[in-house]
């Protein structure tokens, strides 16, 4: 009996040793790491992203990565950055967090990307935040307005791109207080972080009791009649929307059917004029959207950047419909190219993160970038936009938001230089 036990112990010990030996084998050699950063060769830099290219969310977002890729193609035609072309690996996650985990593992472990760029969506990207952190992959310019990307202590390699929802809510709330003084203000928000953080921002500007009514919607139900009816009955005159484009259109369309026409102030996530006209139809869209207020932090309308992006869209993106997503995608590409150029002749993951934290990136937004060692938010302010006779453009009012206050500032657009290719 005891003999039997002893032999079993030996077997167990041998197994443990074997496992330890195997584990030791799988640890990479220190020399191998120093040679070159993952995803970087003498002629290419490979970055990856996860985007909803199929499924219900594709309608709103699938054009973004195509625009980013078109911008990279443009840069590559001009010789790339530091002699390297940028390869963009786009993986479809269908806006399903489980799929996001799979495709991001593929990007990191099989495609060995240098960095993950502009991963789209709060629920989707949240599911890979820890994985990217543990693998020390730079996680750049997340495509979502959640405040969760700005946690440099916990996630030192993660950086946001969108102005966060709190900032947008605060700016719109302040605009309502300044320009639509005394009117009953209400909020319609998505029933997740988007809605709650936006509401937090609005209350920062208007005070906790400054709102007449707050309604929420769920993306699984495309009938918002009950909520719109409630706001109409509550006497709302200004409605601030934390809605995606489709639900902005549903809210405005449903209200019009009920014969109700309040002032609409929408987050940039659901305030893209061409997209909204697509939902509401060419006939009614322009009428319903006259005077529609939204926020933006990227160039729009008659701007030299927009002109360049239109040209790139025609030359490298097959002349796809040009809208806010196109400008957004190309602006993300520009910011990455700028960071890459600043990361040095032989970029490493560390030098890339350092370049962004240096605070020297300029980007192409209308407010200065906020990046620094302690701040991983891109935009801490937004400009107010309005639709007038079918053209959506800045009205000149710009707000800067910090933890406690909202203040009006002057917009600081960045001039276009070197044909939109960042110089090293």
């Amino acid at each position: 009996m005891s003999h039997h036990r002893t032999s079993r112990c030996v077997a167990a010990a041998a197994t443990a040793l074997a496992v330890a030996a195997l584990a030791a084998c799988s640890v990479p050699e220190p020399e191998a790491e120093a040679a070159a950063a993952p995803g970087v060769t003498d002629t290419t830099v490979t970055v990856g992203t996860h985007q909803p290219l199929t499924g219900p969310a594709a309608a709103g977002y699938s054009s973004i990565s195509a625009a980013t890729k078109a911008y990279f193609d443009y840069v590559n035609d001009k010789g790339g950055i530091n002699g390297r072309t940028i390869e963009y690996v786009v993986k479809d996650d269908g806006y399903n967090p489980a799929t996001t985990q799979t495709v991001v593992r593929e990007l990191v472990q099989e495609d060995e990307v240098f960095a993950v760029l502009n991963g789209l969506g709060t629920p989707t990207h949240s599911s890979v935040l820890d994985f990217l952190h543990q693998n020390e992959v730079p996680d750049l310019f997340v495509a979502s307005g959640s405040t969760g990307w700005n946690e440099p202590e916990t996630y030192p390699n993660t950086f946001a791109f969108n102005a966060d929802y709190v900032t947008e809510g605060a700016a719109l709330g302040q605009y309502a207080a300044d320009e639509l003084t005394g009117k009953a203000a209400c909020v319609l928000g998505q029933d997740d972080d988007f809605g709650t953080e936006f509401l937090e921002g609005v209350e920062l500007a208007l005070g906790a009791d400054g709102l007449t009514d707050v309604q929420t919607y769920s993306v699984s139900n495309q009938d918002v009649t009950a909520q719109i009816g409630a706001m109409k009955a509550a006497g709302c005159e200004v409605v601030m929307l934390a809605t995606v484009n489709g639900f902005t259109a549903l809210a405005i369309g449903t209200a019009a059917q009920l014969g109700w026409f309040p002032r609409w102030l929408s987050s940039s996530s659901g305030g893209d004029y061409p997209t909204l006209v697509g939902f509401l139809g060419e006939e009614n869209g322009p009428k319903l959207l006259q005077g529609f207020v939204s926020t933006n932090y990227l160039p729009m309308a008659d701007d030299e950047w927009v002109e360049l992006f239109r040209q790139i869209n025609d030359d490298h993106n097959g002349g796809a419909p040009f809208d806010g997503n196109t400008i957004y995608g190309m602006s993300v590409g520009y910011l990455f190219a700028e960071a890459l150029a600043m990361a040095g002749e032989d970029p490493t993951r560390e030098s890339l993160v350092e370049a962004i934290e240096s605070g020297k990136l300029v980007g192409n937004g209308v407010v200065p970038l906020a990046f620094g060692p302690d701040d991983h938010a891109a935009f801490r302010g937004v400009g107010i936009t309005m639709v007038n006779e079918g053209v959506q453009d800045f009205v000149g009012t710009t707000y800067s938001v910090d933890a406690e206050t909202v203040e009006a500032v002057e917009p600081q657009p960045v001039p276009l230089e070197n044909e939109g290719v960042p110089a090293p």
């Binding site: 199929t54 594709a58 009938d223 009950a226 509401l280 139809g281």
Partner: protein, 292 residues
């Protein structure tokens, strides 16, 4: 009180579409003992055809006719081409094949028409009538309700008052005996699919103008809600589909209006769980002997 009336009216309009789609699930279940998970995707294909026909001819009614026709043809194709080859006697293979069909149809539509939503105009005004200052049903809602009631009435007459209806019911409940008595059971099965698929196409066509617009996923949530309705009402029962649809539509709107949008899907699940616990076969299920 105003608010309650408003919410009830909104819920009834919505419930009518749920009821109609649930009815299509009931028909195919009664005919073939299959829960057709591809019903939503098939219906959307028909709506795309209707959209094209309406755009080309300018007539909503030609579009509606083409949706019904496409639905019917799809019913034949899916039954004869796909479901007929699935082993009988076990419901699982049929369900899995149907789910596969959903993927094929939705991906195909996505490849052909892209992911964007196409706005569809309703044939009637969508601005609601005001009764005592309270907005209630719009002319389009009334149209949807009338269509739903008429379709259900016609189908009820067909099933209970005609020889074809008798043969359909007979071959569904006792295929062997029916065959011995001269009923062409395979043909009846196909007719069941045709009716079901055409009704589903009609329901989806009625729904799309009230939502975001047409894309490959337009009927996803409709299918989910209608499936709930069919289970609540009893998969065997057309009356259950009608009442279940109205109950679920009104419940969702009332809960959204009084408790918030987040709670609405929970309320529907609670209803579903309660019904399954208390009366597993559904509120209006037929007698046990018919279950086999």
């Amino acid at each position: 009180m105003d608010r309650l009336v408003f919410l009830l009216a909104t819920g009834v309009a919505r419930g009518a579409v749920f009821a109609l789609f649930a009815l299509s699930l009931v028909i195919v279940w009664r005919a073939a003992r299959v829960v057709n998970f591809a019903q939503g995707a098939m219906a959307v294909v028909a709506v795309f055809v209707a959209f094209g026909v309406t755009a080309a001819t300018g007539s909503y009614w030609l579009g509606l006719g083409s949706a019904l026709l496409t639905g019917a043809v799809l019913g034949v194709v899916v039954e004869r081409g796909v479901m007929n080859h699935v082993p009988a006697g076990n419901p699982l293979p049929g369900m899995i094949v149907a789910i596969g069909l959903v993927m094929v149809l939705q991906s195909g539509l996505g490849m052909l028409f892209g992911p964007q939503h196409r706005p569809m105009a309703a044939p009637f005004d969508e601005r609601p009538f005001q009764v005592g200052g309270v907005p209630v049903l719009s002319p389009y809602d009334v149209f949807v309700l009338v269509v739903a009631v008429v379709v259900m009435g016609v189908l009820a007459l067909l099933f209970t008052r005609t020889s074809l209806g008798l043969q359909l019911r007979a071959s569904a409940f006792a295929p062997e005996v029916s065959r011995l008595l001269g009923v062409r059971v395979p043909r009846m099965l196909t007719i069941g699919w045709v009716l079901s698929s055409a009704v589903a196409a009609l329901a989806a066509l009625l729904l799309v103008p009230t939502e975001l617009g047409l894309n490959a996923h337009s009927a996803d949530m409709l299918f989910v809600h209608a499936f709930t309705v069919a289970v609540v009402g009893g998969l065997d029962s057309p009356v259950g589909a009608l009442l279940g649809g109205l109950v679920v539509g009104v419940l969702m709107t009332l809960v959204t209006g009084y408790l918030g949008a987040t709670v609405a899907p929970v309320a529907v699940l609670v209803l579903l769980a309660t019904v399954l616990l208390v009366r597993p076969a559904g509120i209006f299920a037929a007698i046990e002997a018919r279950q086999a």
